[in-house]
Amino acid sequence: MSSSSDHQQQWGTRVGVILAVAGSAVGLGNFLRFPGQAAANGGGAFMIPYFCALLFLGIPIGWAEWTMGKYGGRKGFRSAPAILGVFGKGAVARYLGVLGVLVPLAVSFYYTYIEAWCLGYFWHYLTGGIGVDAAAPIAEQTTSAAQFYSELTGRAENGIMTGGTFETFIFWVITFGVNIWLVFRGISKGIEKFCSWAMPAMAVCALIVLGRVLTLGTPDPAFPEQNVINGLGYMWNPNFEALANPQTWLAAAGQIFFTLSVGFGVIINYAAYLRKNDDVVLSGLTASATNEVFEVGFGGLITLTAAFVFLGTTNMIVAVQGGTFGLGFNTLPVVFAHMGVFGNFIGAVWFFMLFLAAITSSISMYQPSLAFFQEALGWSRKHATTLMVAICVGGSFLVMYYSKGGIFWSTIDDWVGTFLIFVLAMVQIICFSWVFGVKRGIEEAHLGAQLHIPHFYRFIMKYVTPTYLLVVFVAFCWQNLPSWLKSVADEPLRQGAVGLILAVIVMLVVMVRVGERRWRAAGLDLDGTRPPDD
């Protein structure tokens, strides 16, 4: 049960909530992870499993989350543990719902740090660049970019104030302060208002960079094959043999899963601020479609095309293997250095766009825990914000202090930002389709809906989506868990990160216990045994 002031909180406009959910979904992965995954897994052919996963995995789970959130909101709940308790009809689902608070909270520990890097790069490009000399050999340029990245992110050694990372700490303070200020202002005045201008601003930035990339032509006549058309071909030429490889289907499902922010605990919380007759079906679809435009429409055209034009096929292989951060923070600065007088401007626009993408995601990570603290402890927004800030400052401080090699934060990313997202999504779709009932769930989704979920989606949401998710999850565990467990056993820093995760879980479980007593005492239907009062 939330405090009375929190109960007054609601979204101001339908477009506002769509942009807020889309903003939560659009992040660095849209521009950096997607093109790398596509190029490494069949190019254009990757889009076949990708769109299958969108239709059978991403959109159905998204609809389930939107519906659960709105239904939970009608019963007076805002947080994932309380809402999943209603849909799962009992304490097991309620305690598993802790993941819906843990995931966004723990991811925010390192996400604001990465956000601060984007702000740092933006600032450096605005004030003269990061020191990559376009006249030097490519290897030397890449080394310069990698060195700047290492110094800014503190990868060389631990300690916030050492290794040249104090500047990053300042950028983090600014980033974190803006995040908390926006979240404290509330759903409508803070998050919605910010996303309503940040999303269009992000699109404008993307269009500026895209316009520059598509007009690059053949910048170096000595290498005529390194042109824009061949750069697009590097990303889009299909390799149909990849479709026979299960890894391609796994990569596509994983990409859809992470890009739409399903299983993240955010949509379920955001939707709890809707009213009974507000649409969730069309809104959910629109938010997903907006995310896809940023991913396929911008990410699929900008990143690898620009890199190919200046680096050529040989260096591209290294760039793609560098993954999300290698591509974004080591390769693209080399590309910007080759853009001549416009290079610093395009670099500044690019990193400002990434900063906006990151901040629209990070503000969504604070709201679920804020709502949960208010609901479980019965605290005011001010007190709940104070507790949340204290936890986040502690978590982020550990991430920044143990910065060497990015081991600490990447461990949280592996276990919380990847593994537990799968678990939460499975809990959600099982609660929705099997415990609550898919027929009843879709009827709830249709209350006030401006678009009806096609009838065959009952079958998809009950059988196809859970099976699809289970197969992907098992394959994912098969591929990753043995090495992850071994690395935790071998590396004290990873053990520290896992310890931090466990400590947060214990704290949240205790809070659910406290909340249960309060909700029961207030006469709320926390086990979902009766219809909503409205």
Partner: protein, 43 residues
């Protein structure tokens, strides 16, 4: 860039842009905008 590459590029972009434009069109032309909460009206 091969012809099939162009096909995948155009179809993918057409699908995502088409879906977003169609969705926003439905959202913006539908009646029943969410009422603004009291704090928005009262400033």
């Amino acid at each position: 860039m091969t012809p099939l590459g162009w096909v995948f590029l155009v179809c993918s972009l057409g699908f995502v842009w088409g879906l977003m434009i169609w969705s926003f069109h439905r959202v913006l032309t539908a009646p029943g905008e969410i009422e603004k909460p009291p704090d928005m009206l009262g400033g």
